[in-house]
């Protein structure tokens, strides 16, 4: 499989009154064509900021991408001027957001909002765009699309609005769809509808997907590869089955141990991760997870480990081999 996106040393900081927030700390990752990458982590770990940086959607000031490259189809997204990035955004790379209630414009009809990208990027006239909009709404399984196209967002439910967002995302046949917690605001039965839809569309269209979430359950059913993030670092990256069957970073292990499973046989006590994530302004010098880590060594408090390969397509940033001894 060919590589679609290659991110190298991406670093984003926010310059605030209280100091410099190290939101994303020189992360590297690749994404192949047609692959689904899950980015997992807790709030404030940099999962959203990292993809917003790629899309050049970081509000400046206070934020700035201070370093790194992001190669997409032979071009570096970070170095593009505004005009170039606009031709990529919403066209080759589409994005859907967490809150379908606020990401649609309440005073424009669904047709006006979906057609906009078609007219802008594909140069369609109004009639063509309208016809294509109906097709797209059909594609995302909105019942009776031809009649609902002139409705306003408030006439749609949350799940339906997220379908409209996906239709907008798909309008220009993107090679990459970035979904930033698209189901977090939705109920669980609606969430199942949306994840199922994305799974089907991915097969039909063959696009790559980056799915950002805090829910390890969703990733398990959806992703091919997973990056686990903590405090602005990728701390583990693996194929989805390897990550769950053979987690190597103490944080990944901790996350898996701290969530109740629906299919758990008996009532077992959960093992929480004690403590809190670090302050991104005043980061500890060593491994960011060391203060909460059960396996921490002296070295962990002073030196930050980098990602190293521990198995096929499996990298971990940790000084300790959780399967025994230090590395």
């Amino acid at each position: 499989m060919a590589t679609l996106l290659q991110v190298k040393g991406l670093k984003t900081q926010f310059f605030t009154q209280d100091g410099v927030v190290n939101a994303v700390n020189a992360i590297d990752f690749d994404l192949n064509e047609g692959e689904t990458l899950g980015i997992v982590g807790e709030s404030g770990c940099g999962k959203s900021v990292s993809v917003l940086s790629l899309m050049r959607l970081i509000p400046t000031p206070p934020g700035r991408v201070v370093g790194g490259e992001a190669w997409f189809q032979g071009r570096d997204l970070i170095k593009m001027d505004n005009e170039e990035i606009r031709s990529v955004r919403g066209n080759k790379i589409a994005m859907i957001f967490q809150d379908p209630m606020t990401s649609l414009n309440p005073v424009l009809t669904i047709n006006q909002q979906v057609s906009e990208a078609l007219e802008l990027h594909l140069g369609m006239d109004k009639r063509q765009a309208r016809r294509r909009t109906v097709e797209l709404l059909d594609l995302v399984r909105i019942p009776d699309a031809a009649n609902r196209i002139d409705d306003y967002p408030h006439q749609f439910s949350g799940g339906m609005r997220q379908r409209v967002m996906i239709a907008m995302g798909l309008s220009c046949n993107p090679q990459l769809l970035i979904a930033d917690e698209p189901t977090t605001a939705l109920d669980v039965t609606i969430q199942a509808q949306i994840t199922d839809l994305v799974r089907q569309l991915k097969n039909e269209i063959g696009m790559a997907v980056i799915w950002i979430t805090h829910d390890l359950g969703i990733v398990a059913g959806l992703a091919d590869r997973v990056n686990v993030m903590y405090a602005g670092f990728i701390i583990e990256s693996a194929d989805v089955k390897d990550l769950y069957a053979d987690p190597r970073h103490p944080y990944t292990l901790g996350l898996l141990g701290s969530i109740p499973r629906l299919d758990a046989e008996r009532k077992t006590r959960l093992t929480p991760i004690e403590g809190l994530p670090p302050d991104l302004i005043d980061m500890p010098p060593g491994c960011p997870f060391a203060p909460r880590c059960r396996y921490a060594l002296d070295k962990c408090l002073t030196e930050n480990p980098v990602l190293e390969t521990v198995a096929r397509r499996h990298t971990v940033a940790c000084w300790v081999d959780v399967k025994g001894g230090s590395r």
């Binding site: 039965t189 969430q191 509808q193 994840t195 398990a220 059913g221 701290s258 499973r261 994530p277």
Partner: protein, 328 residues
């Protein structure tokens, strides 16, 4: 468990909110039937989980039980007293026995009060302690919930979400209640912090022999913490049974769909799972469908029956209640 005494009995509980029209003269044009005829009981020392999607009436149920809303109809018996008939001082005295933990630890603590004032207030209100004794009690409570006893003079903004929720737990425990309604106590918290609070609630239950009504939308969490689980849909309980029977032998089609919609953090399991994906959305509680409320989304509905006749909430034996025409 089955022979334990019943602490709380709810009979045909109804909580309707009026819909009015007009600015000066308000006409009553309808009702939102947030809770529409619930009957269940909670045994002493158990945790009853109440699960459902947003807007199904689960939080309203919790509040109506505690008489934070005065129910439109039905009875709530707690330790032999019918709470719906009590008011004033007798009701206030009952409140010592029943407390609540709220969802949002950022909104449920007054930012201008110190932790000592927040946790100490119920002790003062109920004349349990004052002065030095009160401070000692508060400090002990803070220690109980895993906070430093010298945090007593701090303000809520100095704490993280998980720590704030611990303060909320301490406040609920302050008066030594029997029964606590936990209304989505972990859904505002980060994944790694959720387990800390779940464990704390379990420890406190053991230590103080508490009875919980645990309200949440996350079935994995509810199954973990509860002894029995009630599934709500649009103002009604559709199924109520033990945590294991619900998972292995859930009978109501909504329960089954809900179970199959919950993602399991294991790719090997996810790959093999059979999913029932419901179509459509939850209808509006202002205008619920006739007959069984679930029939508009139900994959196995019987035309002519389910859309006309409301199913009865039946005891099918073995601590298992279901409201479905398909289940006999």
């Amino acid at each position: 468990m089955a022979d334990k005494e019943i602490l709380l009995q709810v009979e045909d509980l109804k909580m309707w909110f009026p819909i009015t029209q007009g600015i000066i003269i308000q006409h009553h044009v309808g009702d939102i039937k947030a809770v529409d005829g619930l009957s269940f009981f909670i045994r002493r020392g158990e945790t009853l989980g109440l699960v459902g999607e947003s807007g199904c009436g689960k939080s309203t149920t919790g509040r109506a039980i505690l008489q934070l809303y005065r129910p439109t109809g039905g009875d709530v018996y707690f330790q032999g007293h019918n709470l719906t008939q009590l008011k004033g001082e007798p009701l206030r005295r009952m409140r010592r026995q029943m407390q609540m933990i709220f969802q949002d630890p950022y909104a449920s603590l007054n930012p201008r009060m110190t932790v000592g004032d927040i946790v100490g207030e119920p002790l003062e209100v109920h004349n349990i302690a004052r002065g030095r004794e009160l401070r000692e009690r508060v400090m002990d409570l803070l220690e109980d919930v895993g906070l430093n006893r010298y945090f007593i003079n701090r303000y809520p903004h100095e704490f993280s979400g998980g720590q704030r929720q611990r303060i909320g737990v301490a406040r609920a425990l302050a008066v030594g209640p029997e029964f606590i309604v936990c209304d989505e106590p972990i859904s505002a918290l980060d994944v790694s912090i959720q387990a800390q609070i779940i464990n704390l609630l379990e420890e406190m239950q053991q230590k103080y022999h508490l009875t919980y009504l645990f309200i949440a939308h996350d079935l994995s969490v509810v199954r973990h913490i509860s002894d029995r689980v009630a599934v709500m849909y649009l103002g009604k309980i559709v199924e109520l049974t033990t945590r294991d029977q619900l998972y292995y032998d859930g009978r109501h089609p909504y329960t089954k769909a809900l179970l199959s919609a919950v993602p399991i953090p294991d790719p090997a399991v996810e790959e093999k799972r059979q999913r029932t994906i419901l179509t459509g959305d939850v209808p509006s509680p202002a205008n619920p469908p006739k007959g069984c409320h679930f029939h508009t989304r139900c994959p196995v509905k019987i035309a002519g029956t389910c859309d006309v006749i409301e199913p009865e909430f039946k005891d099918i034996g073995n601590d298992h209640w279901v409201a479905c025409h398909r289940v006999s």
